[in-house]
């Protein structure tokens, strides 16, 4: 890739060092903690599944009973019960669903528990590996048949069966990635609903069964199109590790997953989020799932010109947290967005500068580029043209994952025809400027080059400030996205667990190993 901005390599390195400095104390905290959802994710990967008659999932049934004893980890209780009850994991799950309290089963021989746990962990990892290999094989078979950047479309009907229709149509129209948008309220649920679902608002529940249904549908469509269709969901909110686990098992390909989104936009407690994001990211790393970070969200509440540096800073932090969880650059779909005020003179040049800057600073990352949303209005014709400029910038700067803008963004979740119009727009523009990136150079010290340099400088300044006060304090002070979140405020703090001296979690150990973390 040709560099066009002449950004200082030293300044970029400095920013990365700052990110390391900022993240280190957070990682220390994370290392010492678990959470209810980390425990549940662990159980899930070991085989816990099913739900009781009220729809409470087995992992929740287990962890809720163990609430006061979690400092040792939940897995040993589950495995212990399995050994004591005999039978399969499935039969244990059923029993738990029917009322069995594993915490009431007296602990047996520790060595036997550990041995059985290792078996379960092996089985879980084998499933993840199988999914990953299947994906690799399919992508190899249809290599070169996806669009570049990947065209990413959302479905959001609330009903998984309706979603399937929409997703298949979207894939037939040319999408490479289908994201099933999650229902409005799910990020605040401290459990993952069970089974196929047909009612959601602005999106569809993320459930393992829904994952499975959509995966099968997309595989079918991929076969027809001879093009791998990636499936995306949200490892985000109060259950990020569990959803990551489900995604790893059901071969999702991408996950929305940000180290701070839940804190800032969902008012989830910061300690809880930092702990959860690490665990979820290790799972994603092992499963070969690309994460999509949420920097675009900053620009929906703050001005995209003024606050461009917060996006870049967050990208550095997400990268650092990602590396710390074993995610290689190739799985780091760092987010950014085309959100400048459309009435801004030279707005396109600034967007170009920012997108090119992200490309050059994160050369090996499949950047996730988000369309205009904030300034979209009921004027669908204006909106369509804004989307065409966004498509242009994306292709012109070699982005990796391209979220298609919808002309009806300000009105409703996408209609089937809205998606068609979006794909057609992108395909036309992108084909038409296919080699623009190689053809065009930027004037030395021109508007574009200066803009990129300025944003980088501002970012470094901003990160120095953060490093000065700690990440926790900067969030508390509202330095990101103009929202202030007190350290002990927000949802889910009570689900945080301080690991005890006897904390036992062979799955976590295995994750660390496989993710290459010592």
């Amino acid at each position: 890739m040709k560099e066009k901005l002449g950004l200082s390599r030293d300044r970029i390195a400095e920013a990365r060092e700052l990110a390391e400095r900022i993240c280190a104390p957070v990682m220390d905290f994370v290392e010492a903690h678990s959470s209810v959802t980390v425990e549940r994710a662990t159980l899930r990967l070991a085989g816990a599944d099913d739900a009781n008659a009220d729809g409470v999932p087995v992992p929740n049934l287990v962890v809720d009973r163990l609430r006061d004893r979690l400092e040792d980890g939940a897995l040993k209780w589950y495995v212990n019960a399995l050994l004591r009850q005999g039978g399969t994991v499935e039969s244990l799950n059923r029993k738990i669903a029917e009322g069995l309290d594993v915490s009431s089963v007296p602990l047996g021989d520790e060595k036997a528990v550990r041995a059985r746990a290792d078996e379960l962990v092996d089985r879980g990892f084998a499933r993840i590996r199988a999914a990953r290999e299947r994906r690799d094989a399919m992508r190899a078979e249809w290599k070169g048949r996806n669009n570049d950047p990947l065209l990413y479309l959302i479905v959001a009907t609330g009903n998984i069966h309706e979603d399937v229709k929409q997703a298949k149509a979207a894939a037939a129209q040319g999408a490479d990635v289908i994201a099933v948008i999650r229902t409005t309220a799910q990020s605040l649920l401290d459990y993952v609903p069970y089974g196929a679902t047909t009612e959601g608002f602005g999106g569809t529940y993320a459930t393992q069964e829904n994952f499975r249904i959509m995966r099968a549908a997309l595989d079918g469509e991929a076969e027809r199109q001879q093009r791998y269709i990636l499936l995306t969901n949200y490892a985000s909110g109060l259950c990020m590790p569990e959803i990551a686990a489900m995604g790893a098992l059901e071969r999702l390909d991408m996950m929305l997953n940000d180290s701070m989104y839940g804190i800032l936009f969902r008012d989830i407690n910061m300690y809880r989020t930092f702990v959860d994001q690490k665990f979820s990211r290790m799972i994603n790393a092992v499963a070969g799932i690309i994460i999509n970070t949420g920097e675009d969200n900053y620009l929906t509440t703050s001005d995209a010109y003024e606050k461009a540096h917060t996006v870049l800073a967050s990208q550095f932090l997400n990268e650092r947290f990602g590396f710390a969880a074993g995610l290689p650059a190739g799985l780091l779909g760092l987010g950014h967005a085309f959100e400048l005020d459309p009435t801004m003179r030279n707005g396109f040049l600034y967007e170009l500068a920012q997108a090119q800057m992200a490309r050059e600073i994160f050369p090996d990352h499949p950047l996730k580029y988000m369309p205009p949303t904030k300034f979209m209005s009921g004027d669908i014709f204006r909106g369509l043209v804004m989307d065409s400029m966004f498509n242009f910038v994306s292709k012109a700067t070699n982005q990796g994952i391209h979220l298609l803008g919808m002309l009806t963004e300000a009105i409703h979740t996408p209609f089937m025809m809205d998606r068609f119009i979006a794909v057609d727009n992108a395909k036309y523009v992108m084909n038409s400027i296919a080699d623009f990136h190689d053809e065009v150079e930027f004037r030395k010290d021109g508007i574009i080059v200066r803009r990129a340099r300025d944003v980088l400088e501002e970012t470094i300044g901003f990160m120095k400030e953060i490093a000065g006060v700690s990440l926790f304090d900067s969030i508390e002070k509202g330095m990101f996205a103009d929202v202030k979140r007190p350290k002990d405020g927000g949802k889910g703090l009570d689900g945080l667990v301080k690991k005890g001296p006897a904390y036992y979690n062979p799955l976590e150990t295995r994750l660390k190993n496989e993710a290459g973390l010592r």
Binding site: G158, Q173, T184, F201, R266, T301, A410, T413, F415, M416
Partner: protein, 246 residues
């Protein structure tokens, strides 16, 4: 005096309207004819399907132009948008309060239910305001509380009682599957169940909230797209004086 109007393409009364929609049928001549007939069934006199396109095996997209003979008497139309009334500036609102109310007016706002869109309520309430209209927090004669997003109706009402609010602002942005209707309705029902509906001026707002809908659901007023703090403040103080009169 009546003023009968029809859609205008490029000549008075030519009635031209552009339409686009999807049908759950395969693309082709039969689909195009179905699309045409459907448009005619809406009372269009003429219809030309100018484009069709497959969206999937069993779905197709149509663009059509129709010629409407329907018309409407413009003079008989009654506009119903809360922002249309002549409204006071920030300074005028403050003066009005000092002169006619004589105490600070208390306003509580939130984006309720599971709705996490704070930008709209912030645009109305925050100091900095929106589009060059300062927010309610900057009004010296108002005492304001912005509870943010995802606020359960119960909590909002509790808080309003606690601070003795004059007005409660409810923001609703997500409208899919009419989720806003049930959430807004529940809010009013809760107030009524407690017998305190009349203690507050209830104001709803959001990009898809019309005054009509809000009033139907039992609010005093509803503010849609393009509403600003000054519209809202004007409404509150006038209404308050009106209520004080009773």
């Amino acid at each position: 005096m009546s003023n009968i109007v029809r859609p205008y393409g490029d000549t008075l009364d030519d009635g031209k309207v552009q339409l686009s929609f999807t049908l759950p049928v395969p693309d082709g001549a039969k689909g195009r004819e179905a699309a045409r007939k459907l448009v005619l069934s809406w009372g269009f006199k003429d219809c030309e399907v100018v484009h069709s396109n497959p969206l999937a095996d069993e779905f197709s997209f149509y663009i059509a132009y129709g010629k409407s003979e329907a018309s409407i008497d413009y003079e008989s139309v009654v506009a119903d948008e809360a922002t249309e009334a002549a409204y006071l500036s920030m300074d005028e609102v403050n003066e009005f309060i000092k002169a006619k109310i004589g105490r600070k007016v208390v306003v509580v706002g939130a984006c309720t239910g599971f709705d996490a869109h704070t930008v709209g309520i912030d645009a109305i309430m925050n100091m900095k305001g929106y589009n060059h209209h300062f927010g309610l927090e900057r009004y010296t004669e108002l005492e304001t509380y912005n509870l943010g997003a995802q606020v359960p109706n119960e909590k909002l009402i509790e808080f309003a009682q606690k601070v003795n609010a004059d007005a409660i602002l409810v923001s609703q942005v997500v409208t899919q599957k009419e989720v806003h209707v049930s959430n807004m309705t529940q809010f009013v029902e809760l107030l009524e169940a407690k017998g305190i509906r009349n203690r507050f001026i209830c104001i709803a707002g959001g990009p898809r909230i019309g005054n009509k809908l809000a009033v139907e659901l039992g609010y005093d007023v509803g503010f849609g797209k393009g509403s600003y703090a000054d519209h809202v403040a004007t409404f509150i103080v006038r209404k308050l004086v009106e209520k004080m009169g009773n």
